[in-house]
Symmetry: C2
Subunit: 200 residues, 2 copies
DNA sequence: TATTTTACCTAACAGTGTTAGCAAAGGTAG
DNA sequence: CTACCTTTGCTAACACTGTTAGGTAAAATA
């Protein structure tokens, strides 16, 4: 009875094509211009078919957000594995985060750009816990080896993430000039301070 | 010939009432739920009247953004004037910025929450230069008095702004728990590092 | 009083997310 | 092979959205 499986496979193909088309449209015109009808046209199905796969438009954006975090996490893991010490790992991940944001600006804007996301939305992104763990680990090591072992690692994670995100989003709204290289200096500066702040 | 003036006055009243109604709706249901028709209903005029005062919906949001920056700047000035030294001024302004964001979350979300704003949008907010100057001044003083007088003050402004914005926006998307107090510790930590980093 | 200006509204266009209801095709059982 | 049922996918609609063209009635001017 391979019929059911064939159907299931087909259904997943359609689902994937929806996400693919959505992503294509987001890259092309920005996530604000994404519409169900455009997706329907792109996948050559009628509009209601999309609602057989996703509850609503938000669910599609949420899925793209998850994909974004997956991609980000992959980049972070790769960067982390290249070096050994926790200091170097934090630094490498900061740069990888920065690089991800600018190399995949469309993803980054979907991930953070939908206004300030609601708590419910954030909690639906399971990839966030991977992201946290990834950065938390070297932070904990660094704290344990430093002179203030009672420092809250979550606080430091928060600082790390905030600084990076702030730097990127302020930078992305830009003032027209190309400040990307300039701000890598700021980033460098920050990481040094961040790391040495946990040691001493 | 006071007729023309009376008309002008009336026109400005309507304009103000549009902004007031828009602001009311934003506070109530968030900026995503703002609609021209709802504004029209609130001010008891028909829809096209709104377009006699604003080119489009974005222009209304832009005006609210400007108002937000005005309010923010006022808060910063007030905080700055309470203390004397550049260190204290920077610290006071950081707290004032933080306080503004959480006391006026609706404003903050209009100001930064429309996705990542385009360069054109940013350049239309003249209040941004006031904002910059306000923070740049004590930064310059601090740099001049410090051991690295060749530091770029704009870079430092950028860092300052980024960190604050990052901290706030990561915090606002929250995880449900009330971490506002917790993150004031991060803020405190950051400011100390930021200020001392310019001295030494 | 006649004319022109202005203020304002109705109605429409083109688009959005979402869903109800139907037709046809695909698979199942007698 | 036929009758039935389930699934699949469609058309069409509802209730919105931003935006604008065109007309009407009131107000100001000559």
């Amino acid at each position: 009875m391979g019929i059911a499986e064939r159907k299931k496979r087909h259904k997943e193909e359609v689902r994937a094509s929806i996400l693919e088309a959505a992503w294509h449209l987001v890259v092309q015109d920005g996530w604000q211009a994404l519409s169900i009808r455009k997706i329907a046209e792109a996948i050559e199905y009628s509009v209601p078919v999309i609602y057989d796969h996703f509850a609503n438009k938000e669910a599609i954006l949420l899925e793209l957000t998850k994909q974004g975090f997956q991609k980000l996490n992959q980049g972070l893991i790769k960067a982390k594995n290249k070096v050994e010490t926790p200091e170097a790992q934090i630094e490498a991940m900061a740069y990888a985060y920065w690089k991800f944001a600018f190399d995949n600006a469309a993803y980054y804007q979907v991930m953070y750009g939908l206004g300030i996301p609601s708590c419910e939305t954030v909690n639906q992104i399971s990839e966030l816990s991977t992201f946290s763990d990834l950065i938390l680990q070297p932070i904990k090591e660094l704290i344990a080896a430093g002179k203030h072992p009672d420092t809250d690692p979550f606080l430091k994670l928060h600082t790390f993430w905030s600084m990076l995100h702030g730097l990127i989003s302020i930078n992305m709204m830009g003032t027209g000039e190309n400040k990307r290289e300039l701000n890598q200096l700021v980033l460098q500066d920050f990481i040094r301070g961040f790391v040495s702040g946990m040691k001493a």
